[in-house]
Symmetry: C2
Subunit: 357 residues, 2 copies
């Protein structure tokens, strides 16, 4: 928890992904039939972090909801895990930071937060009208095994790879079943999920230097040079699964699945690559390798540091752990500084719009 908008400031690209996908959200609102007006309309952002990346999109969506249902109360529920900085989220949404918020522009609006995991039931049955989630569902509920020669499942093979894919399959089906129960009739889910596209591309792996290979090489080097132990290297595994388009859509198209039986339907699927803003700025604008390294690595660090920290032995003192992590990201920076070409955290998302029959 770094606070003070650290996450959203370090993740300009994640905001681009959401802003570019706005029309899918607005289209979903248009497509919802005139449902029960006696109930508040409930929208959620599931896995919201500090709320900064979705703030503009949510503001537009709430205006569109208000326009369609002029008299209906609206509940906007932000969700993330209990250790998330909800105070920062609320301060941003309530207009107490330097970021412009939608608060005050939509009447009869009730903003809330939930710290229940999206692997669990988060809403009362049939009360969710529009569920949104971006760049969150790749977090799995448990690490199924250690990966012997990599830090992320995209670099795993054989049984280890299959174990992560199986965990990812079960968590995705659970996510869909829970949300299906929570959705009101004709409700919508709009999900921008990290995944592997038709050409095998995924986050930071779009033709140039592969980001997770860089992560793994430098962590291996830290092991080989004795900065971390072999056990710590093995224990470092991102609790994530990047799914393919088919893995995302299978439960929605297989008429024998529980998800299909629950009434959840696939309205739309597409994949998009959103270019890394730091790489673009370097390539097209400043060509300053130092600046690129100093701007680019913090965006990686913002979401990866907890996974590297989790691999370190609990016997190490907090300052020692922090020293190792600082040295690690300094080494990542050095790698980019010395050979900047090809480094890029391009975002690869599978965009889904789902409907509850």
């Amino acid at each position: 928890m770094k606070g003070a908008g650290y996450y959203s400031k370090a993740t300009g690209g994640a905001k681009d992904v959401i802003d570019h996908g706005k029309s899918l959200v607005l289209g979903a609102i248009e497509a919802i039939g005139q449902t029960d007006n006696t109930r508040p309309f409930t929208m959620s952002d599931m896995g919201c972090a500090d709320g900064g990346t979705s703030l503009d999109m949510v503001g537009e969506a709430l205006c569109a909801i208000r326009a369609r249902w002029p008299e209906r109360p609206i509940q906007m529920v932000y969700t993330d895990l209990p250790r998330n900085d909800f105070s920062q989220l609320f301060q941003m949404v309530h207009g107490l930071t330097d970021v412009e918020s939608y608060i005050g522009t939509v009447d009869n609006l009730y903003v809330m937060a939930s710290a229940t995991s999206f692997h669990q039931a988060m809403f009362a049955p049939a009360t969710l009208d529009l569920g949104f989630s971006a760049t969150a569902s790749h977090y799995i509920s448990d690490r199924p095994c250690q990966i012997s020669d990599h830090v992320h499942m995209v670099g795993a093979s054989g049984e280890e790879r299959r174990a992560y894919e199986e965990q990812g399959r079960r968590d995705w089906e659970t996510f869909l079943r829970r949300r299906s129960d929570e959705l009101a009739a004709d409700g919508r889910l709009v999900l921008f999920n990290f995944g592997i596209d038709e050409e095998g591309r995924y986050l930071g792996h779009t033709g140039g230097v592969s980001m997770f290979e860089t992560f793994n090489e430098i962590w291996e080097q830290f092991r080989d040079e004795g900065h971390i132990t072999g056990e710590e290297y093995l224990a470092t595994n991102f609790p994530q699964c990047y799914r393919t388009v088919e893995q995302f859509t299978d439960p929605l198209t297989d008429k024998g699945s529980d998800v299909y039986a629950s009434g959840l339907r696939l309205d739309h699927v597409e994949t998009r690559v959103v270019r890394c803003p730091y790489e673009r700025d370097f390539t097209e604008n400043h060509r300053d390798a130092d600046r690129f390294a100093l701007e680019y690595i913090p965006t990686l660090r913002s979401w990866s540091e907890t996974s590297f920290a989790a691999g370190l032995s609990a016997d190490r003192a907090p300052e020692e752990r922090q020293r190792i992590l600082d040295a690690y990201y300094t080494a990542c920076e050095e790698r980019v500084r010395q050979s900047p070409e090809g480094h890029a955290m391009d975002y690869v998302h599978i965009y889904l719009v789902l409907r509850k029959d």
Copy 2:
């Protein structure tokens, strides 16, 4: 924001107040008629801080609600201001701290938080079934004026006293009107409010040394000795109004009032004094003045420090402000240490149970 359960650990007495009043909450749940089962049952704790003082009561209340409506989804909504430590609240409620939580003991339960002020609309109309609030409604929405010779309205007189009472009256009526709109038919409010009882007693003013007089005397001394300026002394005013029983009940019994017209009714009113646990421990148990001072002052500091800090000039550096505040509470401790007899933060509450017709 001190985090890590600071508020609830420093406020054992506030938890006593809630625990002693449990039967009023459970009675209110019993008294609610069988209302619309198709809607989730919504309970709230308004002005919850880190949720620690109400945790046991809320757990019992949720069990009682579940027993009365075995199939009904329950929403538990905690509310406080945006700068509240909601992460600490969620970690405590979700069982991630050393405090035992009710989470997992009640099925079909959805815990949420709101950072909307209780002076505003917090819930969609007619969706609140049981609103609870303890030791919070004395915070007024604005300071109406400076108090020339005191830090708190209980020490103010004349026009200044009347200005605070008038602000308190308007905020209380707004609170009741908003909650009345939000309450479902036959819903209940159970409110344990700081106030002034029939014998003129209020927080820390129950016959011994008057706590707010001590606060004021030492702050005056800080002014006279030049630690703070005259402007800073004047600018230090707790944004609070302690109301009398009549001031609390007037809008509920005056048939011409907006509150009465909205259908809100007084079911029950009583006053209670809950003895200061630190003074009791000193008097009946250890008789150690040093220990009393060191245990007693932090409970005062936990809720009063922001008001003294707000009086200090914005031109002072943060470290200087902190140094003054540290010195102030050290002086308070010294006062208790040298003459411990009579110091006590006894809690004086007006207990109200209200019903929406």
